[in-house]
């Protein structure tokens, strides 16, 4: 593992490096899904380099994005992040993206998100987190619920799809919500042996 910050069973989170920019740009170039309102567009590695450099200049940071990597061979799967961190009110917005489509739907994103929430709640001692999901992106909304987020409401008419204005859904998660979800995903060791690995 390279410079690990939080380590799970199959993946770990580490700081994004400038050398990741080309890989992330390739993820963007090969995006297969159309339901993500902002990400399906070609982006230059130069823009990602700039983003990574800027992010590491902030002290204290208002954005912390971390690379999701496979423990077994360090493959970069995508990234998770805390955005608009408010260090006084101790809240932030979360985001995640699995760039390699063959790793979607296999629990890697959920594991990475649990590591991000562990980092946010247990290391940074944030109190509450929010997340926005464009309404057509039902898969991400379902994943958030599985990770312990609760529906908080919506914001109207944010983006256009097929000629219709669509809403964006808002979710929030407190530490206790996340702990309960994590316990559901990772039962006590004796029962985990019976159920096998989750995801």
């Amino acid at each position: 593992m390279r410079n690990p910050l939080v380590v799970g069973q199959r993946v770990y989170l580490r700081p994004l490096e400038l050398s990741d920019a080309a890989e992330i740009a390739w993820h963007a170039a090969t995006e297969a899904e159309t339901f993500m309102e902002r990400w399906r567009r070609p982006a230059s590695p130069l823009a990602f380099e700039h983003w990574i450099t800027d992010m590491h200049k902030q002290r204290p940071p208002d954005t912390i994005c971390l690379a999701i990597c496979l423990i077994r061979d360090d493959t970069l799967l995508g990234d998770v992040g805390l955005h608009e961190i408010d260090w006084v009110h101790r809240h932030a917005e979360t985001g995640s993206w699995i760039g390699l489509k063959e790793y979607r739907g296999s629990g890697y994103g959920t594991e990475a998100k649990h590591l991000l929430l562990e980092y946010a709640f247990e290391h940074l001692h944030l109190h509450v987190l929010s997340s926005w999901v464009w309404e057509p992106n039902a898969r991400s909304a379902a994943a958030l619920l599985k990770q312990g987020y609760k529906p908080a409401g919506r914001t109207k008419w944010t983006e256009v799809q097929h000629g219709y204005y669509r809403d964006t859904l808002l979710f929030d998660v407190l530490r206790e919500d996340w702990l309960a979800a994590r316990d559901r995903a990772n039962p006590a060791p004796s029962s985990r042996e019976e159920m096998g690995e989750h995801g």
């Binding site: 101790r90 929010s130 908080a152 409401g153 914001t155 008419w157 219709y164 204005y165």
Partner: protein, 178 residues
């Protein structure tokens, strides 16, 4: 005198709004968002940076008490052609901050929704600001979201509400699967 810049179309009995001017750098704590100190040099940098264009995506206005011309807050307005996000900041330690914020909302929301014709005008209001909440609802804004325990207050935490004013002149057709 900066009071000459009072926007006649954003003036009320309690407060009025005007463009920020360079002299406002001496009062940045009142209009600059956030609890951290902002000195005059930093405030000048912010003011010059925010006013590089005549039609910026972000407009930052001073909220000024009508009687006495004291700056009591700031309204930061982010907008594109159809969507606007309004962030109102009030000066610390004002005993009537909630009432002043409500007065500013009564000027800003009709302007953005009915005159500028924004499709959606959104703002956030803390759950311990009942006067502003009442003003938003009287203005026809809908509470579209509640973020639990979002804000820290001495001795505890409170929710934050998101309010949105939808412009009925935009004849939005809802998708059939919504």
């Amino acid at each position: 005198m900066s009071s000459r810049l009072r926007a006649t179309f954003l003036s009320g009995d309690t407060v009025y709004l005007r463009a920020l001017v360079l002299e406002d750098k001496e009062h940045a704590i009142a209009w600059h968002p956030g609890p951290f100190p902002v000195n005059a040099a930093k405030a000048e940098e912010v003011l010059r940076d925010e006013h590089k264009s005549l039609s910026p995506r972000v407009q930052h206005l001073a909220i000024v008490r009508t009687h006495g011309d004291e700056i009591v807050g700031g309204a930061r307005i982010w907008s594109d052609e159809r969507w606007t996000d309004l962030n109102v900041t009030m000066a610390p330690a004002l005993p009537d901050a909630d009432e002043l914020q409500a007065a500013a909302l009564r000027l800003l929301i009709p302007w953005l929704r009915d005159e500028v014709e924004m499709m959606v005008t959104a703002t956030s209001i803390a759950s311990d600001q009942p006067v502003s909440i009442a003003a938003a609802e009287q203005l026809g804004m809908e509470r579209t979201a509640t973020l639990r325990q979002w804000l820290a207050r001495p001795g505890g935490r409170i929710d934050q509400y998101r309010y949105e004013a939808l412009n009925p002149d935009w004849r939005i057709e809802e998708p059939t699967d919504a």
